[in-house]
């Protein structure tokens, strides 16, 4: 059955790793609906949080193929109740809307907050699940929503304690000998040094 799943992937810090992961979804014709990535609590280990609408059986196989990649530590597919997750949205609205008393109530009811206010516009921030963020967008639309932007998902796995230990263990061992090698500016190399 098709439904939304969260996939988490723990990776080394390598150029092109996003490509390597996404191409596995592309091959099977699965659309990624959101992708968030950032460094984990372990320096040099990154976590990708990917949401897709697909079937679990298919995703289990995809996760296996992701794990096969050399620079991947682990990859998991999660049902909705296995993760605690949030998304964040920003709503840019014309300042004129503030003259309407309802908007204050709307912000309170939605547990949102105002980030900035200028003469022209103000920006509301809200975190929550996708449906809540979209619901607020619909409510704000009549007030003159200028721009709306929503993040991908961030998630922590409910049963992840052992994996955290695994990552810390990795850190204690030898680091990746090529990790540093890949982050430098190509322009360092002068043109005359090189030409055939």
């Amino acid at each position: 059955m098709q439904k939304e799943y969260t996939i988490t992937v723990y990776t080394e810090d390598r150029i092109g790793i996003t490509n390597r992961i996404t191409v596995i979804f592309t091959r099977r014709g699965i659309n990624i609906t959101s992708l968030t990535t950032a460094e984990t609590e372990i320096p040099g280990v990154y976590k990708f949080i990917i949401t897709v609408i697909s079937e679990k059986e298919k995703l289990v196989k995809i996760v296996g193929q992701i794990e096969r990649l050399i620079e991947i530590h682990r990859a998991f597919v999660h049902e909705e109740d296995e993760v605690v997750y949030q998304e964040l949205a920003l709503y840019k609205i014309s300042t004129k809307a503030l003259k309407n008393g309802n908007i204050e109530q709307l912000i309170r009811d939605n547990n949102a907050r105002i980030l900035t206010l200028t003469e022209e516009y103000f920006v509301i921030e809200k975190t929550g699940h996708q449906q809540e963020l979209i619901a607020l967008q619909a409510q704000l639309a009549p007030y003159g929503l200028i721009e709306y932007s929503k993040s991908g998902r961030v998630a922590v796995i409910k049963w992840s304690r052992r994996f955290h230990d695994h990552l810390k263990e990795l850190e204690r061992r030898r680091p990746d000998n090529l990790k540093q090698a890949e982050y430098r500016d190509h322009t360092e190399v002068s043109a005359e040094e090189e030409s055939i």
């Binding site: 490509n19 091959r27 096969r68 620079e71 090698a181 190399v189 040094e193």
Partner: protein, 584 residues
Amino acid sequence: MQQKDVLPMKPEPAEKRAATTAPLNITGSEAVIRSLIAEGVETIFGYPGGAIMPIYDALYDFQDKVHHILVRHEQGATHAAQGYARTSGRTGVVFATSGPGATNLVTGLADAYMDSTPMVCITGQVAAHLLGTDAFQETDVIGITMPITKWNIQVTRPEDIPGAIAKAFYIAGSGRPGPVLVDITRNAQVAKFDYEYKKCDYIRSYRPVPELDQDAVKAAAELINSAKKPYIFCGHGVLLSGAEKELIAFAEKAGIPIASTLLGLSAVPVDHPLYVGYLGMHGNYAPNIMTNECDVLIAVGMRFDDRITGDVSQFVKQAKVIHIEIDAAEINKIIKADVAVHADAKTALSALIELVKPGKHDEWLKGFREADKKEEEKVSQKELYPAEGGLKMAEVVRLISERTEGKAVLVTDVGQHQMIASRYYRFKDPNTNITSGGMGTMGFALPAAMGAKVGTPEKEVVAIIGDGCFQMTLQELGTIYQSEIGVKIVILNNNFLGMVRQWQQLFFDKRYSSTEMINPDFVQIAKGFYVPGRKVTDRADIVAAVDEMISHKGAYLLEVVVEKEDNVFPMVPSGQPIANIRLE
């Protein structure tokens, strides 16, 4: 040409050479060559060009240690490296330049990836400051080869070269082997640095050797011990892990029949009493149909390719499946395993052999032999001993099999001749079947045979090639001549793209769309490359011609004109259940 210092290299054992050497201020190019030598590389298949010239220049000083074979097309280098790797068990090495040189590697990389072949390709690349600018012969080879390599990396600084090469060899050869590509920008090749080499044996995110789950082994043994009709599928993993002896000992102890996949061929001698034949779309009749009769299937180092399963929903539904496989991603990918043993074949079988009880399943084995009779009668007899008509591929293959005593390295291309050769060659020794299995790359055989011969010079190497396939990579005859590679080339010429024609006949109302070939004079072509040859059209001449080929020292081309519109049977029509196997 400026003479560079050559590091005094005593003939030390490979392990000792591989140990850390004292720092040495050299160019990245020289570091490439020294790193390869430290990995024990003796042979490179390659083709020079602008962006890899500094590396070729460095190679010039090491010709006494590394033998470079100049191919005629980069695709040929990859297939040669594959043939080399699969016969010698060592990692094949390829050099190519940037742009078209690199893109010409794509087919071979994909083939090696599908068929788990260890290979390290080193490509030259434009200078780092030109990356992404559409410079002359610049192509994003990392992006292009990402989905068809086990790993790839671009190196833009000389100091990263030894580490990248060390990792490349470690990754290519460990776990489930595969191809790796190292792309080195020109500036990294020419700049100097303090060279030091250290072999790689650990990558923290990579676990090539899984821990053997003893409980899984126990569960597998229990299933096997209680089985009435156990059945072994022997895959490529048996050869890759060198588990032929373990597999045979295991099968003999528990009395279990063994069938082979296309790439598993040669792991078990064809004349072994428990060997029941070859699986798949054009495999033997008995091993295919008996799959749906067994009660416990022990799949060893194989991945349930669709050419074996046919319609998966009607494949081995009645049996418990034990899947021994080193690549976790293959377990439960196609067929759900009741017991999964995540390990290489050798480790798993060594453990399993202790736990299985001695057994015999004579009745069960007899069933195979009875089914064989049907195939003999309907197919093999007619193929091997035709009363009349043109020469048959099968009789030629069987003759070669007899004349080489089943001990030659058989390199096959792709199509009818490949299936026939796999069916009728009677393999005796492991790693003597080299073919393009997963990719089905036409043009594979000629270059792969060169590599196979270089990898095992003591063995007779016979390439069986179709007329279509031969014309895809025939320029490698130039390499065979220049590098004096004594391969025997047999072209089974039916003047058709035979397998496609067969499908057109069976499934497209004999509409032979673009499959008939008007062929050149193959013997004349060989002559042009100074490779002697002979053409045979009559049955009366075939024995003498094969004998002439085998007794000839050095390369030889034998063209055999075979029956024009012949079909390969048995055949499981694509996507259908194996029960629908056709014998005619």
